[in-house]
């Protein structure tokens, strides 16, 4: 695979010393602290961590939606100071436009660049077929299931042909079986397009199933705990989840995450007790 033959010096995405601090009623909270990593062209990197480790904050920083942060994000050597056409985002929440048909949703980024209607419909149809939704072009999102709507969002982002596909737990709201099958679909598309992908997730199975490398984050403040190389054969499908090496990777990452997740749980309990104590 191209990603494995490329050194990190050729990184297409570089996050350098990212830090985010929020002011809250209870004082400042450091959400993300000193996070640095590189993503190679064509690579699939997942960022995994317990709830509250600042994964989504990191997603917003890399996507350019959060401007108040420390450190630098650069794509192909160019520093990013806001949303950038090189980065296509797929959000955790359902984000299709309910007033547009599937084809009009997917053609949205092409409409923005002024592509003629006939051409953009043709391009949109290509990406709709890529996510396996051919036949649903003229349906409205309200007529589709949650998984299908997320595929529309994915197709819409892919239609803008970003250099980096940035996804924030896109299948979090779906059931396990749909999630595995959509994981297959994403893998297939990623391998077909050689699409550099950065996935933010809290799901270990999903991360191991799809990634070349997994960046494990600590609980608050979110720091890089470890980066794990996933040496599973490609092309991969969801069948990989039954293999022995897959189980070993899951166990390894869970060993890292367990401590962080427990810390997060204890912190939340302490927080709830303090609040309850203050209220009573």
């Amino acid at each position: 695979m191209a990603a494995q033959n490329t050194s990190l010096d050729d990184a297409i995405l570089v996050a350098d010393d990212i830090g985010v601090r929020f002011e809250t009623a209870e004082g400042p909270v450091i959400a993300v602290d000193d996070v640095s990593f590189k993503v190679k062209p064509g690579e699939f990197l997942s960022v995994i961590g317990p709830s509250g480790c600042g994964k989504s904050t990191l997603f917003n920083v890399i996507g350019g939606l959060l401007s108040h942060h420390q450190g630098v994000v650069s794509v192909a050597g160019e520093t990013i100071n806001g949303p950038h056409k090189s980065i296509g985002m797929v959000f955790q929440e359902e984000s299709t436009f309910p007033w547009r048909t599937v084809v009009d949703n997917v053609a949205f980024p092409l409409e923005l660049i002024g592509m003629p209607k006939a051409k953009r419909i043709e391009r949109a149809r290509h990406f709709i077929a890529l996510v396996g939704l051919d036949g649903f072009e003229n349906r409205y999102p309200g007529e589709l299931s949650g998984g299908m709507r997320q595929r529309v969002s994915l197709a819409r982002t892919l239609a803008s042909e970003p250099k980096i596909l940035l996804m924030d737990e896109p299948f979090a709201a779906l059931d396990e079986q749909t999630r595995l099958l959509l994981g297959d679909k994403v893998l297939q598309i990623q391998q077909q397009l050689k699409q550099t992908t950065l996935l933010i997730t809290h799901n270990i199975t999903e991360a191991v199933q799809m990634s070349d490398r997994i960046l494990v984050m600590t609980y608050r403040p979110g720091k890089v705990k470890r980066i794990v190389d996933i040496d599973l054969p490609r092309p991969r499908t969801s069948e990989v989840v039954t293999s022995e090496p897959f189980g070993r990777y899951v166990a390894k990452i869970w060993a890292d995450l367990r401590e962080e997740a427990s810390r997060g749980m204890r912190d939340e309990e302490k927080h709830a007790l303090q609040h309850h104590g203050a209220a009573s």
């Binding site: 939606l65 985002m89 436009f97 309910p98 007033w99 949205f108 939704l133 036949g135 309200g142 803008s160």
Partner: protein, 261 residues
């Protein structure tokens, strides 16, 4: 994967049940009223028998120039409706865009929504004279608050993730408004326009009645003065017809602008 096709469904008798029950209950209600009046339980000089109201339709249509009056009230409502949609939606958009304006004005716009503006008709008479503009402006002013408030609510209620999708595609503020905020807010804006049209129609007919000028309101006034109660109720039916027509047009417009929610 291919789309599942839904076979054309044949209309079942159950489909007709709601309208049949609806119309049936109305008919039963009028029959009961008729019966109570005929039995002398209700004074026919206070409530005219429905059969008499029905019989007076022909007379009201032929003798009272109903078509012209109907068209006049309809035109006044249409003018007020267009004005309140244009100015109400623009006002709401401006107030959402400029937070200071919203913070400064939203409370009194809300207060205006519950104020009996119809009582200000002498002031409007002085400003616009005894003509259709007084009536239109009264309808317009009284109906403006719900359109403004619902527009603000609709835009502010746009899901954050949709706004973020727009930001991720680097939309300009104008594109963000026309491609995301406005279509997302449309259903709520239409609720405001519907409410506004109800307010406008009530005020327009009310002011026509009060200043004895114009369309159906004036006719209701005249018929009531003559104590022609059956004719009065028949004329009120035409006011209801104006309202029905507006709601039908509005529903079509909403479906055209936003086919599916």
């Amino acid at each position: 994967m291919s789309a599942t096709t839904t076979p054309a469904r044949r209309a079942s008798p159950g489909d007709y049940l709601p309208p049949v029950v609806g119309i049936g209950s109305l008919v039963v209600f009028f029959l009961l009223v008729e019966l109570l009046i005929q039995l002398g339980a209700v004074n026919r000089f206070i409530v005219p028998p429905p059969s008499e109201v029905l019989g007076s339709f022909g007379r009201v249509i032929v003798e009272e120039d109903i078509l012209q009056r109907f068209l006049l009230t309809l035109t006044e409502c249409l003018t007020a409706g267009v004005m309140l949609t244009v100015f109400g939606v623009s006002g709401g958009v401006l107030m959402h865009r400029f937070k200071l304006l919203q913070q400064a004005c939203e409370t009194w716009v809300a207060a205006m929504a519950s104020a009996p503006i119809v009582l200000m008709y002498p002031l409007f008479l002085v400003i616009f004279g005894r003509n259709a503009w007084t009536i239109i402006m009264m309808g317009f002013v009284a109906a403006l608050p719900p359109v403004i408030l619902k527009t603000i609510e609709g835009i502010a209620g746009t899901r954050k993730v949709l706004v973020n999708v727009g930001r991720s595609f680097n939309l300009t503020p104008t594109q963000q408004f026309w491609k995301i905020l406005f279509p997302a807010a449309l259903p709520t804006i239409f609720v405001g326009v519907r409410l506004g049209l109800i307010f406008a129609l009530i005020n327009i007919v009310g002011v026509e009645f009060l200043i004895n000028f114009g369309g159906l309101g004036q006719l209701i006034n005249e018929l009531a003065e003559r104590y022609d109660l059956a004719g009065t109720y028949a004329a009120i039916c035409f006011v209801i017809l104006v309202s029905i027509l507006f709601f039908m047009v509005l529903e079509k417009a909403e479906r055209w602008l936003r086919p599916v929610d």
